[in-house]
Symmetry: C2
Subunit: 698 residues, 2 copies
C-alpha cells in the first residue's frame, strides 16, 4: 500500500480523469463560485493603472443633509461597489481621502444627473434624489470600465419618462413565455416574506434606469385585484420605492364582473366606472405612487370594451378616469381576431389609427415593435408616426419567445436599435415618436440563479434599460460595456466576443426565418420549426398562413396586389419596400410572394439565397461556439461551462431549424439543394413527428 | 450645505430610520450573505479549543491507490470542509502534517465505515469506496461538532439498504405538494446542461446517507419513459453515481398503451411484458446501475393491474421480471377507491395483506407511516408486521403537505421516531420490520435558494437521512447536530432552540388536528382549515367523513362497534386503543366517536380538552417565535429575518386553524367556550368564504 503526500497529486489526476469534464468541475468547484447572480453589478476588482488611480483617489460617499431611503440606497451601492472595485486590499492604504458628494435635493425630478470631479471631490447632482441614485450607478459603471475618477465628467438625461418591464407572470408562479424558471415574484409568500431578490431586482433595474414594472401577465388573473393581493402588492412597492421603481398592474377588463358582482363590465355603465374608481382608490390608499393599469383587451380571447360595443378609447378612458391624475393607463395595441382574415399584420393599425385624438391624456398606447408579434425580424409597426395625437410606447420582448428561448445566444440590442432608428416617414424616427411616453420590455427574468436562464440573456435586460434611457446608444458600445462589467475587462475577450454578440440576432433570423419569413415555429409552445402546420382553427395561427409557400413560390404579398399592408406606411417608407428587386432583402418575403427562381441581388435564385442564408446562420453559430471555446482562460469555469453548454444546444437547434425547414420547402418545390449544401439530416417525417408537450412558457 | 465625513454617520442613521427594518437589512446586506444554500455542509470556522486542536493536527486527505470518482469526491469534500473549519487563516501555520487516509477498497459494499485515529493519521476504512465517502462526511460532521481529531473513533453501519427520496416532480417543473419553488430538476435543459445543483444535491444526500432517488411524481407522466428522456436521466445518473445515488423512475403502469402502441397494459399479456422488458433493457444500456421502478397503481385514478382484473402482485411481478436481477420494483400500498366506503383507513391492509408471499423477490411494498395519508399524527400503518413474507418499506413525507407547507416550523423527526419505534405486536418494531428494505421520504426540495423553502425544513431532510441510516438516533441529538451545523454552535442558541424544535410537530397537531382528529384541511390544495366541507363527490374526500361531528359528539369509531379498523392491528396493539378512558389520548378521536361531554383524563370534558389543546398549540408557536426573536445576536441577519417572517406567518395561520375549527365545532355543538378561552376572531362564515385558488403544490 502506498501512502504519503506524494499520492495526493497522483490521485487528483486519476480521480479527475475518471469523471466527465463537467463533473470534475462541479465536484472541485469552490463554494461561492461565479453563478451570474450579481449581473453587471459584479464590481470585480480593478487591475493595474485603473486600480491605482481609484485607490489613490480613495473616494468615500457622503450625503448632503436631505437623507432618504433613496439616498441611503445610493450610498450603500457606492460603498459596496467601491469596495468591490478596490478588491480585498481596499483603498485605505495610500489614498488621500476623496469624497463622493451626493447632492441632489429631495423627491421628484426625472432622474437626470451630472457627475463632475474637482480636486478630491466627485459631485453627483441632479433634479431630485433619483438623480443621485442613477448617478451613483453611472459612476460605478464608469469606474468599473476604467475611468479616471479625478477627471470624470458626465451629464445624462433620460430620453423618455417610462422605462418599463412587463412581467407575464401568473399568481401560481408560472411565467407565460418564461424560460428562466418560475416567477421572480413569490406571491404566495407575500406579504409575510419579501425575498431579498426583490431588492436585488430593483437594484439591477435602477442601475440601468428602469423605473416601472408591471408585475403580472397581460392575460391577467383577476386575483391581483382582490383585497387579498393588495398587501402583497404594497410590500413589493415598498421594497422598490427607494430604487425609483413604480409598480403597475395588468388589469383584467372584466374584473367588475369577475370580482365585483356586477353583471357587466361595460365601460359606459356608471356602476362599472364606480367599481374601478373604488378599486383605484383602494390601491392608492396602500401604494400612493401606484403607476397604473396595463391592459390587454379584446385580443386573443381577453375581455374588453368591444364586448359591449364600445371602442378601445372608451374602455381606456374609463380606466384613465378611475386613476385620475394619479396614474396612467397603458393600453396595448396588440389585437387580432378572426374578423379580418385578410392580413393579421394590418389589424392593429386599422383598429387604432382612427381613434387618434380620442384617448384621454393619461392613456398611453403600447405598440409592439412590429405589426405581427416579436418575430426575429419585422418591419417597424406602421402605427408609429400615424397617431400624432396619442402618446405611443414601444413594446419590445426581452424573453426570447421566438428567438430560441433562453438557450440561444441572441443579443437583441441590434433589433431594438433597428426599430428605434427607423424613420417613420411622418417626420420622426420611432425613438422620437415614443419620446413623450416610453419603452416597455417583456421581462426575461425568473427564479433561475442567474436571473435570465442564459448568462447572455442578461445582456438583453441590460441593453433594454440602457436603450430606454438613451436610444442613441450604439449596440456595439452596450455590448462592450455589458461584457466588460459582467465577464471580464480583458481586451482580448472583448475583441473576440463583442462581434459575435452583435451578429447573434442576425444569425437567429438566418437559421429560423431568413429573408423576411416569419411565424414558422411550433404551435402553442413556439419551440422549434413547424412551417408545415396548416390545420389550426384560425387561419392566422398557422405557419402556412405566413409563408404561403407552394410549388411555385413563397412569401406574403403585402403590396397593392396582395393585402396592401404596405399602404399603412407613409408613402416614402412604403416605396422602399415596393420593388422586390430593389429593396432591402431582409424584408423580402414579408412584403412579397415570389417564385422560387426569382433572382435576388446576389445573383442567386430565391431558393439558393434561402439555403445560403440558413447556412450562413448555422455558420455564425458554429463560429460563435468556437470563439467562446477559446475564452476558457478568461472566464470563470462555471459560467464558461454554462455558456458552452447552451451554445452546443443552440448549434443543434439551429441545424434542426435549417434542416426541417429545407426538408419542408423541398417537399413543396421539389428542388434540389444547391451544390455543396448538405442534405437535411432526417427526412421531413422525422421533424413533423417531434412533440414537446412540456416545453416551457406555455 | 453641510459636507465632510462627519455626515456619513448621521446619514447612515437617518437613512436607516426611513426604511422599514427588513429593507434596511436588504439594502445594506453584503454580497455573499448566508442564504441557506450550503445546508448542513456549511463547515463554518471552528472556534477556540476545537479550532486549535484541528489546526495542530492539520490533517490532509490522502488516497490509497484505488482512485475513483467516488474517492475523488470524498477527497474534494474533505479538502473543502477542512478549509472551511479552519477558516481564513487555514491550518498551515502551526500544524505538524496529519493525514486522513482513505482506505476503502473498490466498488461495492454497503457503505459501513470505521474512522480511527493513531498518531498523526486518521484512517477511514470500510467495505468499498462508498464507505470512504460516508466516512468523510461523518468525520467532517464530528469535527464540526468539536470532536478531537486525535482521538476520533467511530464505527457505523447503515440499518437498511434503501435510503431514498421520492420526488413528486413533473416534467414541466411543477412539484405536486411542493412548497419550495419549482422542481430541482431542469428536465427541459437536460442533458444539454447539468446544473451544479444536481451535484450539490447529491453531496447533501450522500452526506446523510441517502442512496436512492426516484426523480418523478408517482402520478407519473409517461414522458419519462420516452426515448427523448433517456439521455436526460442518464445525465443525472452520471452526476450522482460518484455520490452513491441510484436513480429510480416512477413508472406509469399504462405506458405500453400510452407510448407503446399496444391496446392493453394487462400485466399477463406477453406483449406488455415484452414492452417493459425492452424498456428496461434500453434504460440499463444507458444507466447500468438504474435502481428500478416506483409504482402507484390503482389509486386515486392511476392505471394499474386491477384495470385488467389482475392483482397488485401480478402487476408488480411483471415489472420485476422486466428488471430481472438488475433492479427493484417499489410498489406503493397507498390505495383507496370508492368501493369500500366503510373506512378508507382499512383499504390498504385489506388489499395487500392477503397477497403476502405472492410478490417476487425484487419487489418491495412501500407503506405510508399511517393508514390514511401523512396526517400530523396517525397510528402506525397496520400492514407493518402483518406481511412477514414481503419486504416492506416505510414511506414518510418530508414536504409538509398536511403540516403547514414550507411556512410552518415543524420538525418531523419526532413523528418518524414515533412510527419507527412503534411495536407492531408481531414481534418487531416498525424499524425492525423495514430493516431488510428501507425508508422513502417524499422530498421537500425545490428551486428555492435554500432548497426547502423554510430554513427549518432543511432539518427534515437531514433528519430523514440520519434516521434512515440509523433509526436508533434520538430526535433530540439529530436536532442538536443539525442546528449546530446549520446555524451556530453557540450553546445558548442550541439550549434555546432545540426544545421548541422537538415540540414543534406536537404544536401543529394541537392547532390543526388535536386528540386524533385528521384530514380537516382545505380541499385540493390542503391549505388551511375546512372541517365544514361535506359535499365532495367521494365520501372519503370530505373532512366531515373523518371527524363525524354533530350536536352529540365527534370522532371516527374504529372499534368493533364502528369500522373495526382496530382489528387490523395485532391484539395487544389493538387493546391499548380500545378503551377511550384508558388510552393514549393522542389517538382518541382516531379510534372513537365520543360525546362532547366525555370526560378526558385531565378531568376536562372532551370539548374543553379540545379547546385546551388548540390553545396549547397556539401558545407553543407564540413561544417559539419569541424564543427565535431572542436569537438575533446568534444568527446571521438574513436567515434570522427569513425565519422570523415565517414564524409570524405560522402564528397567524395557527390562530386561523384554531379559530375556524372552533367556530365550526360550536356551530354543531352549540357549546360555549370554556372560561378564558378567547372567541374566534371572525364568525364561521368568514372562514368558510376564504378561497385560495392559487395555493402551491396542487
Amino acid at each position: 500500500m502506498m501512502s504519503g503526500r506524494g499520492l495526493v497529486n497522483r490521485a487528483r489526476r486519476l480521480g479527475a480523469a475518471l469523471l466527465p469534464a463537467w463533473l470534475t468541475l462541479l465536484v472541485a468547484a469552490p463554494a461561492g463560485a461565479e453563478d451570474g447572480y450579481d449581473l453587471w453589478l459584479r464590481h470585480a476588482p480593478l487591475e493595474g493603472a485603473a486600480r491605482a488611480r481609484l485607490a489613490a483617489f480613495d473616494p468615500r460617499p457622503v450625503l448632503v443633509p436631505e437623507e432618504s431611503p433613496t439616498l441611503a440606497a445610493a450610498r450603500a451601492e457606492l460603498e459596496q461597489g467601491l469596495a468591490g472595485l478596490l478588491g480585498e486590499q481596499g483603498g485605505n492604504g495610500g489614498g488621500t481621502g476623496g469624497e463622493i458628494l451626493l447632492d441632489c435635493g429631495g423627491a421628484g425630478g426625472d432622474g437626470r444627473f451630472t457627475i463632475t470631479a474637482a480636486r478630491r471631490t466627485i459631485r453627483i447632482a441632479g433634479t431630485g434624489e433619483l438623480s443621485c441614485l442613477y448617478g451613483s450607478y453611472a459612476l460605478l459603471r464608469e469606474l468599473s470600465l476604467g475611468a479616471d475618477p479625478s477627471s470624470i465628467d458626465i451629464a445624462s438625461v433620460p430620453a423618455m419618462p417610462l422605462r418599463m418591464l412587463n412581467h407575464w407572470d401568473n399568481p401560481d408562479g408560472h411565467v407565460e413565455r418564461g424560460y428562466a424558471g418560475r416567477s421572480l415574484f413569490y406571491w404566495w409568500r407575500l406579504p409575510g416574506h419579501v425575498d431579498r431578490r426583490m431588492v436585488d431586482y430593483a437594484r439591477a433595474n435602477a442601475s440601468i434606469g428602469i423605473n416601472a414594472v408591471a408585475v403580472n401577465n397581460v392575460n391577467a388573473s383577476p386575483l391581483f385585484l382582490t383585497p387579498r393581493y393588495l398587501p402583497k402588492l404594497r410590500a413589493l412597492a415598498d421594497a422598490w420605492r427607494p430604487y425609483g421603481i413604480r409598480l403597475f398592474l395588468s388589469a383584467r377588463f372584466s374584473a367588475p364582473r369577475d370580482l365585483g358582482g356586477l353583471d357587466t363590465a361595460d365601460p359606459l355603465d356608471p356602476r362599472v366606472a364606480q367599481w374601478w374608481r373604488a378599486k383605484a382608490d383602494a390601491i392608492y390608499a396602500e401604494i400612493p405612487d401606484f403607476g397604473g393599469f396595463l391592459v390587454k383587451a379584446n385580443s386573443e380571447g381577453q375581455p374588453g370594451p368591444q364586448d359591449y360595443g364600445r371602442s378601445h378609447a372608451e374602455g381606456a378612458n374609463m380606466l384613465a378616469s378611475a386613476l385620475g391624475n394619479r396614474g396612467t393607463v397603458i393600453w396595448r395595441a396588440f389585437v387580432y381576431s378572426a374578423e379580418d382574415e385578410s392580413d393579421r399584420a394590418k389589424q392593429a393599425y386599422a383598429e387604432f389609427v382612427p381613434l387618434d385624438g380620442q384617448f384621454a391624456e393619461n392613456v398611453i398606447l403600447q405598440v409592439k415593435n412590429g405589426p405581427v408579434d416579436f418575430q426575429p425580424r419585422e418591419p417597424f409597426h406602421p402605427i408609429f408616426g400615424a397617431m400624432p395625437k396619442t402618446r405611443l410606447m414601444l413594446e419590445a420582448q426581452l424573453t426570447k419567445e421566438y428567438l430560441g428561448f433562453a438557450t440561444h445566444l441572441a443579443f437583441l440590442a441590434p433589433l431594438w436599435e433597428e426599430v428605434l432608428d427607423a424613420d417613420t416617414g411622418h417626420g420622426a424616427s420611432v425613438a422620437e415618436v415614443i419620446a413623450p411616453a416610453g419603452m416597455a420590455g417583456v421581462a426575461n427574468t425568473g427564479s433561475d440563479r442567474n436571473w435570465t436562464g442564459g448568462h447572455f440573456d442578461q445582456a438583453n435586460w441590460y441593453a433594454f434599460g440602457r436603450l430606454a434611457w438613451d436610444p442613441g446608444l450604439a449596440s456595439e458600445s452596450i455590448a462592450r460595456e455589458w461584457a466588460a462589467l459582467t465577464f471580464t475587462r480583458d481586451p482580448a475577450f472583448l475583441a473576440d466576443m463583442v462581434p459575435p454578440l452583435l451578429g447573434s440576432r442576425q444569425a437567429v433570423v438566418d437559421y429560423m426565418t431568413p429573408l423576411g419569413l416569419a411565424h414558422l415555429m411550433g404551435t402553442g409552445h413556439h419551440y422549434g420549426p413547424a412551417p408545415w402546420v396548416c390545420d389550426l382553427a384560425r387561419p392566422e395561427w398557422n405557419p402556412c398562413y405566413y409563408h404561403r409557400a407552394d410549388a411555385a413560390g413563397i412569401g406574403f404579398e403585402r403590396t397593392a396586389t396582395g393585402s396592401d399592408a404596405l399602404a399603412q406606411y407613409a408613402p416614402e417608407v412604403a416605396a422602399q419596400w415596393r420593388d422586390p428587386s430593389a429593396m432591402d432583402e431582409d424584408y423580402l418575403l414579408w412584403f412579397h410572394h415570389l417564385p422560387w427562381d426569382f433572382e435576388t441581388r446576389s445573383g442567386r435564385t430565391l431558393w439558393a439565397e434561402l439555403v445560403y442564408r440558413y447556412d450562413r446562420g448555422l455558420a455564425a453559430v458554429d463560429a460563435m461556439a468556437a470563439t467562446w471555446a477559446g475564452q476558457r482562460a478568461s472566464v470563470d469555469p462555471e459560467r464558461f461551462r454554462h455558456v458552452a453548454d447552451f451554445l452546443a444546444v443552440q448549434q443543434r437547434e439551429a441545424r434542426w431549424w435549417r434542416d426541417a425547414s429545407l426538408a419542408y420547402w423541398q417537399s413543396l418545390n421539389g428542388l434540389d439543394l444547391p451544390p455543396g449544401a448538405p442534405a437535411p439530416q432526417f427526412p421531413l417525417a422525422h421533424y413533423r413527428a417531434l412533440a414537446f408537450p412540456e416545453a416551457p412558457g406555455q
